[in-house]
Amino acid sequence: MRARDNPFSTDRVLRVRYRLDGTTWPELMSRLAALDYRAAIVGPHGSGKTTLLEDVAPRIAALGYRVKMLLLNENHPSFERDLLTRFYAELHPRDIILFDGAEQLGTLAWQLFRFKTRRAVGLIITTHSPGRLATLIQCRTSPELLGRIACEILGSETTAPEIESLFTRNRGNLREALRELYDVYAAQ
């Protein structure tokens, strides 16, 4: 199958948005406000933290706050010094910082970051473990969730094969499981 026709191509997978489980967007945003917009989205690799953070952004902006995004990951585990200096200098009291990958900062760097960003009205992070900020939501995955996402991508009438084993093989990491499904379809 040509890459452009693969149903699990990156652009198609990225169109799948976060599915709240056991709560609603109004409830989540109320909890965020109750936490003074200082909270963590917690979960393992491939559980949808980044997607959820992206989906929070327009809701924050709709409240009249300015959204400032920061990203670290295993490929880019630290900020350039100049970038952070400019970032701190430009912070505004209406800013809410959305920081994806906060676990990449060591303890001291994290403490310094919190101090330097105290002028911002809010700080929402994604992280693998709880503890850095109050937990807003814990992202979890399941074979059922993977199956629902695969069905959404493939069409509601279709079921991707071997969802249970796919989920187990990828240790619950939905991003990696969907990449494996890409390879399955690429081989056809």
């Binding site: 199958m1 040509r2 890459a3 452009r4 693969n6 191509s9 990156t10 652009d11 990449r179 890409y182 390879d183 690429a186 081989a187």
Partner: protein, 126 residues
């Protein structure tokens, strides 16, 4: 019908060939600006790559309008597909402030057809 439309007589082109498409739109109010962009993008397993080659601003757009848009295609890169990545050429019509867009995909290659990796090459177009 409300919205944007991009149409063209053909979709397969040689390097350096001119592309002409017709851009039309039917809106309730005049858009602030309308741009046509010639670009290529990748699709597949990894991160997407995009490269805008040329942008043409369509002056003084009316609420209901039709404009011809012409681009001369570069020599490369060619349109191709493998199992991991496809490179796709397109012209996109983008209106501000709504940000609405319409896309017209095309093929650029010496054969006029998308190059499919792992398959024997097709004879060049005459």
């Amino acid at each position: 019908m409300k919205g944007f439309n991009l149409t063209g007589d053909k979709k397969e082109f040689l390097p350096g060939e001119e592309v002409t498409v017709t851009a039309s739109w039917n809106l309730d109010t005049s858009p602030k600006s309308v741009e046509a962009r010639l670009f290529w993008f990748t699709r597949g397993k990894g991160a997407e790559d995009v490269n805008v080659i040329e942008t043409k601003r369509l002056d003084a757009p009316r609420a209901i309008d039709t404009r011809p848009v012409r681009f001369v295609l570069p020599e490369a890169p060619y349109s191709f597909s493998g199992k991991l990545i496809s490179l796709i050429w397109a012209i996109e019509l983008v209106a501000a402030p709504a940000g609405e867009a319409e896309r017209f995909e095309l093929t650029l290659s010496p054969t006029g057809q998308e190059i499919v990796l792992g398959q024997p090459p097709v004879s060049p177009a005459p």
